[in-house]
C-alpha cells in the first residue's frame, strides 16, 4: 500500500465528541498530481476531445439534417472518382446512391459513432461494474450466482455475433429510426456479462484485502465499502477490455454492409444488407468505410484509395485514442491508488 499520509487536522469545533467519522476527501489538486508523466492519457484525451469537438460542430452545423449525408452536386449517381482536392479535402466517397464529400461525411458521423461506442461501452461497463462488483464482494450470494450464470452463459458466443443475431430478429418490429438505439441496447445486453465477469474476479480478490476488512471493522456500510474500496480497485480489467470491444462494434458496423455491397469475388453468394443504420445515407464511420472499400475497390479500382483510407484512418485513430485513454486512465488509477 505504500506510504501512508497523515490525516489533516480536523477543523476546530466541527468534530462532535461521538459523531460519525469525518468524510475523507483527497484535495482536488492531489488528483492532478498523477496526470503528469502519463502521455497515453493526454494523447488519448486530446484526440477524443477533438472527436467530441467535431461531433459538436456537426450537430451545430447540420442540425436536423444530421442523419442524412448530403450528396455532392453532380454526383448523384456514382461518377468519376474524385480524389482529394481543395473543394473536397478528403476526396469524394461513393455510396450506393451517389457521391458525398468525405470530410463532411466523417465529421457528420462523429456524433453518432461517439454515441454508439459511448452508449454501448458506458452502459455495459456501468452495469458490469455494479453487478460484478457486488457479486465479487458478496461471493456466493444470490446476485453472485445470477451474475456468474449469465456471464458463463454468454461467454459461449461472441458479443458481436449475438448482438447481430438479436438485432436481425428484432428489427422486424421496429421503425428504422429505432434500429440504432435498439442496437445499442441489445449490445449492452450481451456485453455487460463480459465486464461483470472481469470485475467480479477482481472484486473478489479485492474484497479479501486487509484494507477492506479494516473498513468493515471500522463500521463502514456495505455500500460505502463497495463504492470507496472495492469498485475503485476493480476498474482496471474493464479499461483493458474496452478497446477490443470498440473493435467488435466496428466489426459489426463494417463487415456486414461491406459484404452486402462487395459480395464475394466470384459473385456467387449474395449477402443482404445487415446493419442497424436506418437508411443508406446515414453518416456512420463503419458504413462509410464499408462503402468506401467496396466502391473504392470495385468501381474506381485500386486508385480510389481515399475512399477507404480516410474512413479506416478515422476509425483507427478513434480506436487508438480510446485505447490510449484507457491505458492512461488505468495508469493514472494505479498510481493514484498506489499513492
Amino acid at each position: 500500500m505504500g506510504r501512508r499520509r497523515a490525516l489533516p487536522p480536523p477543523p476546530p469545533g466541527r468534530l462532535p465528541a461521538d459523531g460519525p467519522p469525518p468524510r475523507f476527501r483527497r484535495p482536488l489538486v492531489e488528483r492532478f498530481r498523477y496526470l503528469g508523466g502519463n502521455p497515453e492519457l493526454w494523447a488519448g484525451a486530446i484526440v477524443l476531445a477533438l472527436f467530441a469537438g467535431a461531433a459538436a460542430f456537426a450537430l451545430g452545423s447540420d442540425g436536423a439534417a444530421i442523419d442524412r449525408l448530403p450528396l455532392v452536386a453532380g454526383l448523384v449517381t456514382p461518377g468519376p472518382a474524385a480524389g482529394p482536392s481543395a473543394a473536397h479535402p478528403l476526396g469524394v466517397l461513393h455510396v450506393a446512391s451517389g457521391g458525398i464529400d468525405e470530410l463532411r461525411a466523417l465529421v457528420q458521423a462523429a456524433p453518432f459513432d461517439l454515441g454508439i461506442v459511448g452508449g454501448i461501452l458506458g452502459g455495459a461497463a456501468l452495469v458490469g461494474l455494479l453487478l460484478g462488483g457486488v457479486a465479487g464482494a458478496r461471493e456466493g450470494g444470490g446476485l453472485d450466482l445470477a451474475v456468474t450464470f449469465f456471464t458463463d452463459l454468454l461467454a459461449g458466443v461472441p458479443p458481436f455475433l449475438l448482438a447481430t443475431i438479436l438485432l436481425v430478429n428484432v428489427e422486424v418490429f421496429l421503425r428504422p429510426a429505432a434500429y440504432l438505439p435498439v442496437f445499442v441496447l441489445l449490445y449492452v445486453l450481451v456485453l455487460w456479462p463480459a465486464y461483470a465477469r472481469l470485475v467480479r474476479a477482481r472484486a473478489r480478490e479485492v474484497a479479501q484485502r486487509p484494507f477492506v476488512e479494516a473498513a468493515e471493522a471500522s463500521g463502514a456500510g456495505a455500500v460505502r465499502v463497495l463504492r470507496r474500496h472495492i469498485l475503485p480497485n476493480s476498474y482496471a480489467p474493464v479499461l483493458a477490455q474496452m478497446p477490443p470491444d470498440v473493435a467488435g462494434i466496428f466489426f459489426v458496423l463494417t463487415v456486414f454492409p461491406f459484404l452486402a455491397c462487395f459480395g464475394a469475388p466470384s459473385g456467387n453468394p449474395v449477402y443482404p444488407l445487415l446493419t442497424p443504420l436506418p437508411n443508406g445515407v446515414f453518416p456512420e464511420w463503419g458504413y462509410l468505410l464499408a462503402q468506401g472499400t467496396c466502391h473504392g475497390w470495385s468501381v474506381a479500382g485500386v486508385g480510389a484509395w481515399w475512399m477507404y483510407a480516410f474512413p479506416a484512418a478515422t476509425i483507427a485513430l478513434f480506436g487508438l485514442a480510446v485505447a490510449l485513454a484507457c491505458d492512461g486512465v488505468e495508469k493514472y488509477l494505479a498510481r493514484a491508488h498506489a499513492g
Binding site: D152, L153, L154, A155, G156, V157, P158, F160, L161, T164, I165, L166, V168, N169, V170, E171, V172, F173, A240, P243, P244, V246, A247, G248, F250, F251, T254, V255, F256, F258, L259, A260, A264, P265, S266, N268, P269, Y271, P272, L274, L289, T293, W297, V302, Y308, A312, I315, A316, F318, G319, L320, A323, L324, D327
Partner: protein, 962 residues
C-alpha cells in the same frame, strides 16, 4: 347403342386401335303408358327397395288415374279433372307448369320435346314438354282409349268409336285411319314394325306402319287393356282372366293360361308386364300370376283376393324386382320376380289406379289422393356390370394391365379379366400394360354391355446405346447399373461394361436414363426422346462425389476424425501415466482433485448452457420473428399445431414454441442438420462440414500458430520493459491492427500481393484451392480434388498436396493459406497483445523474479524461462477467451478471399437470417446458421474449459504443488 371404336392411336404411340363394340337396349325413361310403346312395363334398370321415400308431392285435389310418364328429370301426370302437371323431379316434385287438357285424360306420351295428352272428350293436345306452350290441338270426336302410341314417326290413337287414327308428330296432320268393327279395348302397342290393337270385344289385330291390317285373330274374351309385345310375342290379358300369347309375325296362339285360383275366374284390367323371361299379370282380385314367357308355364301365383275394385294399375318389372299395387291394403309392393315373395311394401294411404312409372331406378306412384310419391334407389343411379378381358395380340391374357374407364381404375387379374360397375353415360377408356402400347377409346353405356375384349399390341422398342462417363474428366465409369424408365411404365436396366458402354431399348417417347451414386460419383440422369428410330452415343455424365440426402462423402473427416481419436487416446494414456507417477510419488492416484471435479461439473454444464443459449436465440429467432411477420405461431410445427392457430390461443402458441424448440434441440444434438446452399451446391450441412471443416481447421491452426509466434515474444518483451521503446510501439501498432477491419487488411494483402502471386503461381489470390483456370492450365483437376473444393484423403489441402507430391498445387495453396493466415493474424495478434502485455508486466513484478534477479540470474533467462513459463498458461487461457474473436475474424477472411469454408457459409447464412429464421420446415437453406451457432457455442465453451485445464497443466507452480 352404336358401335364405338376405340380412338386412333395417339401421336407417338404405336398401337393400332382396337375395335370395341357394346350393345344395349333400354328406354331411357318411362315415356308412355306402361313404360314404352310395346307396353312391356319392363325396365332393365333396377328399381328402388321402397325403403326410401324420396319425396311426396300432392298436386291436385282430384284423382290421379292416368299414369305418370317420365323423361329425364321431368315427370308429367294428369288428374281426372283434366289438368296435366309438369313436375321437376330434381326439386322434390315441384310443379313446373300445368295445362288444362279436358276431363279424364289418358296417360300422356312424350315424343322428343313434345308432350301429347288425350282426353275422354276426344281432345288430342300437343305441348312443348319443357315450357308447356301449346303446340297444336285436335278433336277426334270420341275418347282415346288408355294411351297414345308413337310408331315410325306417327302418333297412333285408338278410340271408343273403333277408329285407329295416325297423325304427324310435328303438327297433328292426319296420316291414315283404320276402322275396327268394335271399340278399341286398350292402348295400341308397337313393336317390330307392327301395331297391335285389341278390340273391346276380343279381337287382336296387327297393323303395319301404314295402317294396313297384317293379321287378325280372336282372343276369345273381351279385352280392356293394352297388349304387351316384345321378343316375338304379343301377350294379352282378357276379361276372362286368361293370359294369351300370340306370335307377332302371324298371330297364331302360342299359349294361353288362366289365372284360375280355386276355379275362380277373374278379369284382367291391367296390362301384363313382359320381361325377357316371364310374364306377370295381375288380376282384379289383386293376385299376381307369373308365367314363363316362352311356354306359358305358371312359375308362381299369389293367393288371396284383396282388391275390391277392378285393378287398373299395371304391374311393372325390372331385372330383379316386380312392383304391383295392392289396393286392398293401400300399398305398393316390391316382389321377387323369381319367387313372388313380397320383399318390401310402401304405404300409399289410399287407392291407386294409375300405373306407376319407373325411370332411372326411381319409382313414381300416383294415387287417388292426388299425390305423387317418389321412391329412390339408394346409392345413386343404376350401374351396369361391365366386364372384359385384356389380352396380348396373338397371345394370352395380360395380367396386371391397368384399365381406366372414366377415371375409375381396375387392374386385370391373372386371366386378364377386369370388371366395372357403370351407370349410363359415355366414358373415355384407356388400357395400359407394361410392355404394350396403350389403347385408347370410349365406351357408351345405356344398357347391358356385353363383355369387352381388348387386345393390346406389344410395344415397339428401339435400341438406345451410350456410355456412362465422369462429368469432370469424361473417363468411362464401369459397372454402373443404368436404368431406363420410359413411357407406359416401360423399364429396362443394363450394367455398363469396362468401357462404360451400355445398351438398352426404349419405346417411342421420352425416357429417363439414370445411374445411382456409385463410388466417388453422384447419381446422374438424363432424358432421351425416341422417335421412330434408335439412339446411339448417349452420354450419361456422373459428377464426382456423392449426391444424396444424408449420405456424406467422408473424404475429409475420414482422416481428421481418426487423428482426433488418436489424440484422445494419447490423452488417456498420458492421464494413466500421470496417475502412475502420482502413485510413485506417494499421492492418491485419483485424478478427481477438487479442480478435476470442477472441470467435470463444467463439462456437464456445457450442454445445459448450450440449450439455454439456444432457447434465447430461438425465442428471438423464431417466436418474435413469427409474431413480427404476422405469421401463425405454428408455422414451424406443421402437423402438430393447426394452421389456424392464432397468437391469442395460448395452448397452441405454447405447443408451437415448445415443440419447435424441442425439435431444434433434438435435431441439433442428434446431428439431423438439414441442408445448406452455397453457390450451386445444395448439400446436407454435414456434407459441407465434412468438406470444409478440415480446411478451415487447417487455416485456423496456421493462423493461430503465426499469431502465437508473433505475439508471444512481442508481448514478453514489451511487457518486460513497459517503459521501453517496444511497448508503446507494440501498443500503437496493435491498436491500429485492432481497429483496421480484417476485411480491409485482407483486401490490402490481396491487392498488394496479387501481381507477384500471379507472376509466381499463375493464379489469382482468391479462393483456397487453385482456380479452375489454373487447373485447366495445369492438366485438369487431379482425381483427388472433388466437388466443393475438397481434397482427399485428409481434406487438408496442404497435407494432401504433399501426399500426392503435387508441388505446383502445394505452392499455390501455401501462398493463399499464408495470405489468409496473415490477414487473420494481423487482427488476432493485436487482440492478443492488448491483453498479454498486462499479464507479462504483472508477472515481471512478482517476487520470484526479483528473487531470481537477486540471485544473479541472467536477464534473458529471467525473461524467457522464468517469466515466459509463468505467463504461458495465462496466454493459453487468453487464447481460449479470445477464441470467438478469432473465429469471427477467420470467417470474415474466408469470405473476403472467397474461400469455400466454414466461415464463408456461416456468414452467408447469417446474413440470410431473416429469410430463413431458425426452423426446420424441411430441407431448406438456412440450417447451417443454426448448426454453426450451435457448434460455435460448443466449441467456445469447450475451448474455454480446455484452456483452463491446459493452463493449469502448464503452470509450473501447480506442477510443483502436485
Amino acid at each position: 347403342m352404336a358401335p364405338l371404336p376405340f380412338g386412333g392411336a395417339a401421336p407417338g404411340r404405336l398401337s393400332a386401335a382396337t375395335l370395341l363394340t357394346a350393345t344395349a337396349s333400354s328406354p331411357d325413361g318411362w315415356t308412355t303408358y306402361h313404360g314404352s310403346d310395346n307396353r312391356s312395363g319392363y325396365s332393365p334398370l333396377g328399381g328402388p327397395t321402397l325403403a326410401t321415400q324420396t319425396w311426396s308431392a300432392c298436386l291436385s285435389s282430384y284423382h290421379l288415374r292416368a299414369g305418370p310418364v317420365v323423361d329425364g328429370d321431368r315427370l308429367y301426370v294428369a288428374d281426372d279433372l283434366g289438368t296435366v302437371f309438369a313436375v321437376n323431379l330434381s326439386a322434390n316434385g315441384s310443379v313446373l307448369w300445368n295445362r288444362t287438357v279436358g276431363v279424364e285424360p289418358v296417360t300422356p306420351e312424350i315424343v322428343g320435346d313434345e308432350l301429347l295428352v288425350a282426353s275422354a272428350r276426344g281432345n288430342l293436345s300437343a305441348f312443348n314438354a319443357t315450357t308447356g306452350t301449346p303446340l297444336w290441338q285436335l278433336n277426334l270426336g270420341s275418347a282415346v282409349v288408355q294411351g297414345i302410341t308413337v310408331a315410325n314417326g306417327a302418333i297412333v290413337v285408338g278410340t271408343t268409336s273403333g277408329l285407329i287414327e295416325a297423325f304427324g308428330v310435328a303438327s297433328g296432320s292426319a296420316l291414315w285411319r283404320q276402322a275396327l268393327s268394335q271399340p278399341v279395348g286398350g292402348a295400341i302397342s308397337a313393336d317390330g314394325g307392327r301395331l297391335f290393337v285389341v278390340g273391346a270385344n276380343g279381337t287382336l289385330e296387327a297393323l303395319s306402319d301404314s295402317g294396313t291390317v297384317d293379321w287378325s285373330t280372336s282372343v276369345g274374351a273381351g279385352v280392356a287393356t293394352a297388349p304387351a309385345a316384345g321378343g316375338g310375342v304379343v301377350v294379352v290379358g282378357d276379361l276372362a282372366g286368361r293370359v294369351s300369347a300370340f306370335s307377332e309375325s302371324d298371330g297364331h296362339l302360342e299359349w294361353v293360361r288362366s289365372g284360375a285360383l280355386g276355379g275362380h275366374a277373374d278379369s284382367i284390367h291391367a296390362t301384363p308386364a313382359l320381361t325377357p323371361q316371364s310374364v306377370f299379370a295381375q288380376l282384379d282380385s289383386g293376385s299376381v300370376l307369373a308365367l314363363n314367357r316362352t311356354t306359358g308355364a305358371v312359375e308362381w301365383e299369389t293367393g288371396g283376393e284383396f282388391s275390391p275394385f277392378e285393378n287398373l294399375a299395371a304391374p311393372l318389372a325390372t331385372s330383379n324386382a316386380l312392383y304391383v299395387v295392392a289396393n286392398g291394403v293401400f300399398e305398393l309392393w316390391r316382389m321377387d320376380p323369381a319367387t313372388g315373395a313380397v320383399e318390401a311394401t310402401a304405404a300409399l294411404g289410399t287407392y291407386a289406379f294409375a300405373s306407376p312409372a319407373l325411370s332411372d331406378g326411381s319409382l313414381y306412384a300416383a294415387s287417388d289422393g292426388g299425390c305423387l310419391t317418389a321412391y329412390g334407389r339408394a346409392g345413386g343411379p343404376f350401374r351396369w356390370s361391365v366386364t372384359g378381358t385384356v389380352s396380348a395380340q396373338g397371345g394370352g391374357p395380360i395380367a396386371g394391365a391397368l384399365v381406366s374407364v372414366g377415371g375409375a381404375l381396375a387392374t386385370t387379374a391373372a386371366n386378364g379379366s377386369f370388371a366395372f360397375a357403370l351407370a349410363n353415360g359415355s366414358y373415355p377408356v384407356e388400357v395400359d400394360a407394361t410392355g404394350y402400347a396403350p389403347d385408347l377409346g370410349s365406351l357408351v353405356v345405356d344398357g347391358p354391355v356385353p363383355p369387352l375384349a381388348i387386345v393390346l399390341a406389344p410395344l415397339w422398342t428401339y435400341p438406345v446405346t451410350g456410355t456412362v462417363e465422369s462429368a469432370a474428366s469424361g473417363a468411362p465409369i464401369a459397372g454402373v447399373t443404368v436404368t431406363l424408365v420410359g413411357p407406359y411404365g416401360f423399364t429396362a436396366t443394363a450394367v455398363s461394361d469396362p468401357q462404360g458402354a451400355f445398351a438398352l431399348t426404349a419405346p417411342n417417347g421420352t425416357s429417363v436414363l439414370s445411374t445411382p451414386a456409385t463410388g466417388p460419383y453422384r447419381a446422374a440422369s438424363r432424358t432421351v426422346v425416341v422417335d421412330g428410330q434408335g439412339i446411339s452415343d448417349v452420354r450419361v455424365e456422373a459428377a464426382l462425389a456423392a449426391l444424396a440426402a444424408d449420405r456424406i462423402d467422408p473424404s475429409g473427416l475420414a482422416f481428421t476424425l481418426p487423428l482426433l481419436a488418436i489424440a484422445v487416446a494419447l490423452g488417456v494414456v498420458a492421464a494413466g501415466e500421470l496417475s502412475r507417477r502420482r502413485v510413485a510419488a506417494g499421492l492418491p492416484p485419483s485424478l478427481l482433485s477438487p479442480f478435476a471435479r470442477y472441470v467435470v461439473m463444467r463439462a456437464i454444464l456445457i450442454p445445459v448452457q448450450t440449450i439455454l443459449l439456444l432457447a434465447v436465440l430461438y425465442f428471438f429467432g423464431t417466436v418474435l420473428v413469427d409474431f413480427g411477420l404476422h405469421r401463425p405461431p405454428g408455422i414451424l410445427a406443421p402437423g402438430v399445431v393447426s394452421p389456424t392457430c392464432t397468437w391469442s390461443d395460448l395452448a397452441c402458441t405454447s405447443t408451437a414454441f415448445f415443440w419447435g424448440f424441442g425439435t431444434l434441440i433434438e435435431r441439433l444434438f442428434t446431428g439431423a442438420w438439414g441442408y445448406a446452399v452455397y453457390a450451386d451446391l445444395r448439400e446436407p450441412v454435414t456434407q459441407f462440414l465434412a468438406w470444409w471443416l478440415p480446411s478451415s481447421l487447417e487455416l485456423g491452426a496456421i493462423a493461430l500458430a503465426i499469431s502465437a509466434a508473433v505475439a508471444y515474444p512481442i508481448a514478453l518483451r514489451a511487457g518486460w520493459r513497459p517503459e521501453g521503446v517496444l511497448d508503446p510501439v507494440a501498443r500503437v501498432v496493435s491498436a491500429i491492427g485492432l481497429f483496421l477491419p480484417s476485411f480491409l487488411v485482407g483486401l490490402l494483402l490481396v491487392l498488394g500481393l496479387a501481381p507477384p502471386l500471379r507472376a509466381t503461381f499463375g493464379d489469382s489470390p482468391f479462393g483456397e484451392l487453385p482456380s479452375t483456370a489454373w487447373f485447366v492450365a495445369h492438366g485438369g483437376y487431379p482425381s483427388w480434388v472433388g466437388v466443393g473444393s475438397t481434397t482427399s484423403p485428409t481434406g487438408l489441402p496442404l497435407v494432401d498436396g504433399l501426399l500426392h507430391g503435387d508441388l505446383a498445387f502445394e505452392g499455390v495453396v501455401l501462398a493463399k493459406t499464408l495470405l489468409q493466415a496473415a490477414a487473420i493474424a494481423s487482427v488476432y495478434v493485436a487482440v492478443f497483445l492488448r491483453h498479454a502485455r498486462h499479464l507479462v508486466a504483472d508477472a515481471a513484478r512478482e517476487p520470484h523474479i526479483a528473487a531470481a534477479r537477486a540471485r544473479g540470474v541472467d536477464e534473458r533467462r529471467l525473461l524467457w524461462t522464468h517469466t515466459g513459463r509463468r505467463v504461458l498458461p495465462i496466454f493459453v487461457l487468453l487464447m481460449g477467451l479470445t477464441l470467438p474473436v478469432f473465429i469471427g475474424t477467420q470467417a470474415v477472411v474466408e469470405t473476403i478471399f472467397d474461400d469455400p469454408g466454414f466461415g464463408t457459409i456461416f456468414f452467408l447464412e447469417l446474413t440470410h437470417l431473416q429469410q430463413t429464421p431458425l426452423g426446420f420446415t424441411g430441407p431448406l437453406a438456412g440450417n447451417f446458421y443454426q448448426v454453426a451457432v450451435f457448434l460455435l457455442i460448443l466449441l467456445v465453451l469447450g475451448a474455454t474449459l480446455a484452456s483452463d485445464v491446459l493452463a493449469r497443466a502448464l503452470d509450473p507452480r501447480e506442477r510443483r504443488r502436485a
